[in-house]
């Protein structure tokens, strides 16, 4: 911003922040304020605060019309098709010795055969650093592919976290199935448990942290020995949850280019566990 050295300009821009937050400035002023916000985090925070206040003023207790969602849903793009992983990953998974455990998850017909490529999505969607950060580490990532949905939720940092309690409950349930995912070239492991209702939990804190341009990716072997992508875990996964619909005989974690799935899957250094 060329004219930002003038204290009067800064004062004027600061004074505009309230009006800007309420969309009450001219387009030219809006552009000046936006340039200012880009270099002044304090001002950006102030605008965010103003908008939060406006949010409270805006609440009216109304409900949207019942049929409006249907109209919205009809406009949504389903996303690109996701190719299946290559045969190499399947070979590695199936070469791993199988533990004789009866899967507790009942077989359920897939809800959808739509499989989506997050690699394609990566090209279509440029994530802000903050959202990408959420996906990779702190908040959540949710990916559904075919019959299996992986819901990556907030980390459980405290022992009293409901998620940690849910894992303990799942582990204590005799009808749950558990596996430890191991790799030939690493001492690190990840533990997974799936309860009888199909709720899965992945404890992946021990996995080495990846660089920002890489991510862990979770795979599963479903019926007919098909390997499908279950989701993106980010470069530093900790405690993740997922919901399984259908029979899963094995899980695998691979290292991929961030932010997500590639068509062939990368079997090098895969962590594999079987049920």
């Amino acid at each position: 911003m060329d004219d930002m050295t003038d204290c009067n300009d800064i004062y004027e821009l600061d004074e505009l922040l309230g009006a800007y937050a309420l969309d009450a400035v001219d387009p030219d002023e809006a552009r000046r304020v936006e340039d200012y916000l880009a270099i002044n985090p304090k001002a950006a925070t102030e605008v965010a605060d103003h908008r939060e206040v406006a949010t409270m003023l805006a609440f009216t207790g109304m409900e949207a019309p019942d049929d409006l969602w249907d109209r919205i849903a009809s406009e949504l793009d389903d996303g690109p098709e996701q190719p299946a992983p290559g045969p190499e990953l399947q070979r590695i998974i199936h070469a791993t010795p199988t533990v004789a455990v009866t899967p507790a998850v009942p077989a359920v017909e897939p809800k959808s055969t739509a499989v989506r490529s997050l690699d394609d999505a990566r090209q279509r969607r440029r994530w802000s650093s903050s959202v990408a950060w959420l996906a990779g580490s702190a908040a959540a990532a949710i990916v559904a592919v075919m019959a299996i949905t992986v819901v990556v939720t907030d980390r459980a940092d405290a022992p009293t976290d409901p998620l940690a309690a849910a894992i303990e409950t799942a582990r204590a349930d005799r009808d749950s199935v558990e596996t430890t995912l191991v790799a030939e070239n690493s001492d690190a492991t990840a533990d997974a448990v799936i309860d009888q209702d199909g709720h899965g939990y992945l404890e992946a804190r021990a996995l080495p942290t990846l660089t920002d341009d890489q991510t862990y990716q979770l795979w599963g072997v479903v019926s007919d020995a098909q390997v499908i992508s279950l989701g993106i875990l980010g470069p530093n996964p900790e405690l993740e949850t997922f919901t399984v619909e259908g029979e899963v005989s094995a899980l695998a974690i691979t290292i991929e280019d961030a932010p997500g799935v590639i068509a062939d899957g990368n079997p090098d250094g895969a962590f594999v566990g079987t049920f």
Binding site: E15, L16, L17, G18, A19, A21, L22, D23, A24, V25, A48, D49, H50, R51, E52, V53, A54, T55, M56, L57, A58, F59, T60, G61, M62, E63, A64, P65, L68, W69, R71, I72, A73, E75, L76, D77, G79, R116, L118, A121, R125, R126, W127, S128, S130, V131, L134, A135, A139, A140, A141, I142, V143, A144, V151, V152, T153, D154, G231, T243
Partner: protein
């Protein structure tokens, strides 16, 4: 919608947005369930037109689907983001000449029916009492400027013209009024996350 949404009922708003980025329609459905009412309410209040308010709701959620990266969780809540988008789009419509004429006609009719009261508009809010108190604690000039700018869709210059006050005064009152509102609400233990 009920069935596909089950996995996301307990997900945080931030988690929903990440899932939306992964083309999870059920996540958008859950975001809609949580926030569409507020979005619709604001759009309808601004536009005074149910049909156009519905169009805004549709546009806001389709935009979230097509470009979820616009939401920055470090900059505020999802509701705040959606309402800011709603407000911006509604104001764009209001400021078009045709919309302005229609709106002014509608406002004239509404004011003839008893006028407009900002406190009444938020009466139904879950924590309406605190918000009402905060609004009442504002200086009259602050409250009036915020009301005309936010719910009237006017620029501060237009507000100044309408009130016959200097532009700088109105600009400052909007900013100071928002700060005072925030302070009052924080002292009352109210945040947007509880609204």
């Amino acid at each position: 919608m009920e069935d596909v949404r089950q996995d996301y009922v307990e997900a945080s708003d931030a988690a929903l947005v990440v899932a939306i980025g992964r083309y999870q329609q059920a996540a958008l459905a859950e975001a809609y369930r949580r926030h569409a009412g507020a979005v619709f309410g604001l759009a309808k209040r601004l536009l005074s037109d149910t049909s156009r308010a519905e169009e805004i709701v549709q546009e806001v959620f389709v935009r979230l689907w097509n470009d979820p990266s616009r939401f920055d969780p470090e900059r505020g809540t999802l509701r705040s983001f959606l309402l800011a988008t709603t407000h911006g789009r509604s104001v764009d419509l209001i400021r078009s000449d045709a919309a302005r004429r229609a709106r002014e006609e509608r406002e004239a009719r509404e004011q003839a029916d008893g006028g407009y009261d900002l406190a009444r508009e938020v009466w139904d809010m879950a924590l309406a009492g605190h918000v009402r108190d905060a609004l009442e604690a504002l200086a009259p000039g602050e409250r009036e400027a915020i009301e005309l700018a936010y719910f009237g869709g006017r620029t501060y210059k237009e507000v100044a013209d309408e009130l016959g006050q200097p532009e700088g005064t109105v600009k400052s009152r909007i900013r100071s009024g928002l700060k005072h509102l925030r302070q009052e609400l924080l002292e009352a233990g109210v945040s947007s996350g509880t609204a």
